[in-house]
Symmetry: C2
């Protein structure tokens, strides 16, 4: 990993406790990790001028992972590979249910939809990005100018480094921007994925729950061209040779041990205002949690009658349920901790500080108020914006039709002026996403969801109406109008078929205008509404971008302590200790679960349907080398006070010696609120213990050769 | 408490651990409680020749309780007083919701349906009871003879001690019988009952759950005639003066402390065979749990629309839900512990012991097999017997009609030959039960339940048909036939009205035969079926009575250790320690909950709708003298490894000095299996802490005078 330029990302704001922090790798050398428990030199962890552990960390799909051998073997989560396993499954070869094991390299099959990124270098580009702003710009222009500059930097960089991916990431809104360059691998294959009854043991019941007993791991392998360069899938490709890999340690860790995680956390919102939190608590999260809950129940009902339909909905249910439960946890946390009220008090104190000095008052006096106005406007229009925000993703077919049409418009523009998803570098993935969704298309679900959203739209107040929806309401009976409309358009569209839709993507704008397709027509009618929304959002983003920079600035003056940027899908480090916690009065959770707990939970029915072989191995106490000396059992999952969020899934949990001892995959329920506020008392994350990974792989799957490849003696 | 005759109840069988045991009071002197932690002399606890703590213990309704002042003040559970509170409530004075506090003695109102019994003496009557058996008797005759003898002894005793209640209790089936004499108080009044949001905090969610935060306590007062003798309610009655009372200790107890309980545990089944357990696991408990679950959902649906209907169903839902959750817990425990398989192994070993000696073989060789045959017969007829066993209690009106008719038949017989409930000493209570049920009669519920049971009956296999049901099936559409039948009979019955039904009870058999009442007609048609079932059950009881005595005998020879009789609603002692436990892998529950936990659980909605005053008191840290020194908060509930079951509700939890420190009210979920098997690792019972009782009474209710009366300084 080569460091191009040093940069300072730490600003100063933290009312929270010691171990909070998803540190950008540029900050690793400032942390004094030796004092915390690290036993290797921090250069071994991160060395901008040579090889270090950092180089073994991958960003895979929306997850993280690590190379664990010189042959490109990657250890990540079962749930990160789930979509690919589902895509590879058929009724005859149900890898989701039965698991998948490649007995030879030749048997390793493509993990559809998964690509791997490895952070190669980074550079502070704040000055460049912000240089484009002028005082004359209105707020929407401001947003567009920043977005365009970021795209330009990316384009230049990718031109200079063919085959690499580049990305400019906003660290502090309106204040700092970093260009990251990534190695990009497109040939990823399935090696070993345990059956769902292990990899997803506990299912949605146990999701976001400790104590946990899920074997949420999967082995994949990255491939490259015979010359070692990144390449599309080809049978002649060979295993990718990473710069380095993490050594797995079959002895694992114990309670109290120092551990750290390197990975790609997605999004946190700790620097946001009370206005943001109130909007999330009162509007956005309840709306989405309720919508998803209903959508899940609809899909489950359709699936009950037909196993094939159930399989189609599988990954989608999983993903909606995950968000829903996360939001419910957050909502509970917001209420329990009275977070909005606390933020308001902080902001009141900050405002007093601002007003206490005439210069500060002049510069920052109205910042909080102006942020409040943006959210007040969002609140005024929340009903229609919630519907528009969820309309396309609710109907797979409408989303396909809309994407077809929007692509035709956007692809006419010069590459840099397009929305991100239609840029040349992203368009193949955009099409693949549409295609993959249509492969799981099920018409009754699509119709039911679209009908519900349109019905919601039909009830919107006068000032928030959606013209395309109004146009289809011809009588006083909205429900009947919508039913008829849906019957009509679904009968006259090609956008429910993956292949036909792919053909539509090949058309020019002129050709697209002539497509005779009822759903595309409806999509066309929606475009002005979505364009207006997009512009509104750009204007708000421009305002918030400007205001956030000011807010960060004055907070730094006020609080005089360091703080780290919110997570933004860039490589971060977090460290801490294997540690239990008290989730409630008179209750204590210890930080290591065992196979005994798997057996305790086992009912013989989903989601607790442990394979008989695991039960037998447990009864025979056939623990191999993977027994915890004190617990006298195979450790299954680990709990620790590290600071993680979504995107950290699959991250290696690493011990003081830099060895892999677990695979991070979840948080405890109380820690869903992590994204808004971290606390030593309840912020706990969860890994599958490396001993369980190795025990399952060796004793259950019989794949001794994988342990040999990892050198796990 | 006067001991008439010493007796030995301990036999020898226990594969279980140290602290198991609901000891009959006759055994207290053998226990060496000093070594366990008792600091008072065991004579102070139990003195057959003088006054002791035993004399402060009451049996109240199906619960236990204790006198806590010389003025007859009784401390028991909120849920034990619930029915009486409900009966005293109106729409205007909703004591269930708001609680009830008598500001003066004159304001103390009757606790309808509650009576108090105090154990006065006991005597072993095994010889007398068993003397009636002859070899010539068939099995049903055997049961009848024993029952009749028990009734005779009771009748003689009550004649000798006017105003007292007598009862002969079977200690070991077919082997030992004890006559208990009870002081019987019929004027019981409500003194202080907290609002449901305290007394039933957590509702069904938290029922059978630890950690617990329920203020499940109530103060009642027993009254007597001015001369101190037991009497029916009268405004001229005066507070009853108990022989002694328990001193409450406002300092409470701490983790690890020795505690004991005196109370009236209802039923345990630890000496039963694998056949019994399998029948419970496979048939009876699942049937009832499912039936009750459905009945609860029906009642809840009706109640949603109408608050008055909801009030009518309140106590019934509570009681069904309590049983249902208990059964679910037991079913889970049976499966998790594989209890049937374990019992089978024990029985196999016992059988080998039996067969190893020719004499033993001759006497006991077929005992287990014969017990198995009884259960095999029960299993063969389980469908119809489950329906018959639940038919009457499902329909309040049908039960009234059936009781009216059966009373007319039974009351013609000499008193000692009647079924218990129709004997002169019990008939008033029987009528009152019917009347109380009819006061909460709600026709749609009654019709729905009866319809379901009749529909089940319509589907019975050929060999289990119920003639009275067959008679109403006139077409091939059973559902329609049953609907019509129900519409017809409910339109032509007086048994839905409490007053009219009471009038029917006054009729002679001759008059009753002329009652023109469609529901009574149906009841008449059912009588032969129920009579046949009763005879079958007497025959089985006779067989099991004989076989159980033999089994107990040979087990004693085999195991050579002491064991105590199963609970049977007689006064028992259990002792142990305030102690937490691990309910599951990586989870530990500590044994004292606090007010903080109440606030944590509070959502503002039922069942977690804590009164604002409690929240305010907590925020002001206004804990008075009731703060736990280490937890720095008011203790709310206590957990301990004592051996309790239903009936122990309301039992005083007593410290090493003989002072009341809590009121027992529940068990942890894992401990529902207690009734079948006790274990140190999961058998935990729950009390409300005396500090919470006193804090709520003083700070929340403002009833300082009650603390003064208790001398709780």
């Amino acid at each position: 990993m080569k460091k191009l330029l040093s940069l300072v990302l730490l600003l100063s704001f933290s009312i929270l406790m010691a171990d909070e922090g998803m540190y950008p790798i540029s900050e690793i050398h400032r942390l004094n990790l030796k004092a915390k428990g690290l036993k290797i030199d921090s250069k071994q962890l991160y060395n901008p001028n040579g090889t270090s552990l950092i180089d073994a960390i991958v960003n895979i799909g929306g997850c993280s992972g690590a190379f664990v051998t010189a042959q490109g073997l990657i250890l990540t989560n079962h749930h990160c590979a789930f979509g690919a396993v589902q895509a590879a499954s058929t009724k005859e070869n149900d890898y989701v249910t039965d698991g998948f094991l490649a007995r030879t390299r030749a048997d390793e099959i493509p993990a559809r939809g998964l690509t791997v990124r490895i952070t190669e270098s980074y550079r502070d580009v704040s000055k460049e990005v912000l240089s484009v702003l002028t005082d004359k710009m209105d707020l929407a222009e401001r947003t567009k100018a920043i977005e365009r500059k970021m795209k330009e930097i990316v384009a230049e960089t990718e031109k200079k480094h063919p085959g690499k991916r580049a990305e400019v990431s906003e660290m502090f809104a309106g204040a700092s921007y970093v260009l990251f360059v990534y190695t990009f691998l497109r040939d990823v294959r399935l090696v070993y994925v345990p059956p769902r009854s292990i990899g997803e043991f506990g299912g949605e019941n146990d999701n976001w729950v400790w104590p946990r007993h899920t074997g949420d791991f999967a082995f994949l392998r990255a491939y490259a061209a015979p010359d070692g360069s990144p390449a599309e899938y080809s049978p002649t490709n060979v295993p990718y040779k990473p710069k380095t890999f993490l050594k797995v340690n079959p002895q694992g860790v114990d309670e109290g041990d120092f551990v750290f995680i390197l990975g790609y956390p997605g999004r946190t919102f700790r620097h946001q205002t009370s206005h943001f939190l109130a909007y999330e608590e009162n509007y956005r999260m309840p709306y989405i949690a309720n919508l998803y809950e209903w959508q899940i129940s609809v899909m489950q009902q359709f699936g009950e009658k037909d196993r094939e339909v159930a399989l189609k909905h599988d990954a989608r249910i999983k993903s909606l349920a995950n968000v829903m439960k996360n939001f419910r946890g957050k909502l509970q946390g917001l209420q329990r901790l009275q977070l909005v009220a606390k933020k308001q008090e902080e902001e009141k104190a900050l405002q007093q500080f601002i007003l206490s000095d005439p210069n500060r008052k002049a510069t920052y006096g109205t910042v909080l108020e102006e942020i409040g106005k943006v959210y007040a406007e969002m609140t005024d229009r929340v009903e229609s914006e919630m519907i528009l925000g969820n309309l396309l993703q609710s109907s797979v077919a409408l989303n396909a039709a809309y994407t077809v049409w929007e692509a035709a418009i956007e692809r006419k523009k010069p590459d840099l002026e397009r929305q991100e998803k239609y840029m040349d570098r992203n368009f193949a993935m955009t099409k693949e996403n549409v295609r993959a969704a249509l492969l799981n298309y099920y018409e009754p679900t699509d119709k039911t969801f679209l009908s519900e959203l349109l019905l919601q739209a039909a009830k919107l107040p006068e000032n928030q109406r959606i013209p395309a929806v109004d146009a289809l309401l011809s009588s006083s009976d909205a429900e009947r109008d919508i039913d008829r409309f849906i019957e009509r358009v679904f009968a006259r569209t090609r956008c429910t078929d993956p292949n036909e839709t792919m053909q539509l993507f090949d058309k020019s704008l002129e050709e697209s205008e002539k497509i005779n397709d009822a759903l595309v027509e409806f999509a066309k009618a929606l475009v002005p509404t979505f364009q207006r929304l997009r512009e509104t959002q750009q204007r708000r983003a421009g305002a918030l971008n400007r205001l956030s920079a000011l807010l960060t600035d004055v907070k730094r003056q006020y609080l005089k302590t360091d703080f780290v940027p919110d997570a933004n899908r860039t490589l971060r480090l977090t460290y801490g200790y294997i540690r239990g916690y008290s989730p409630a009065d008179a209750t204590y959770y210890s930080p290591i679960t065992t196979l005994k707990g798997v057996i305790e939970k086992t009912t013989g029915e989903e989601p607790y349907n442990t394979p008989q072989k695991i039960i037998d191995l447990y009864r025979q106490k056939d623990f191999g080398k993977f027994k915890h000396p004190k617990l006298n059992d195979v450790p299954v999952a680990l709990l620790y006070n590290l600071d993680t969020t979504g995107g950290n899934s699959g991250s290696p949990l690493i011990n003081a010696n830099g060895e892999l001892v677990g695979v991070n995959f979840d948080r405890a329920f109380e820690a869903t609120i992590n994204d808004f506020a971290w606390s030593e008392s309840y912020s706990r994350s969860i890994a599958v213990d490396i001993r369980y990974v190795l025990w399952v792989t060796q004793k259950f799957a019989g794949a001794q050769w994988l342990l040999d490849e990892m050198g796990a003696k």
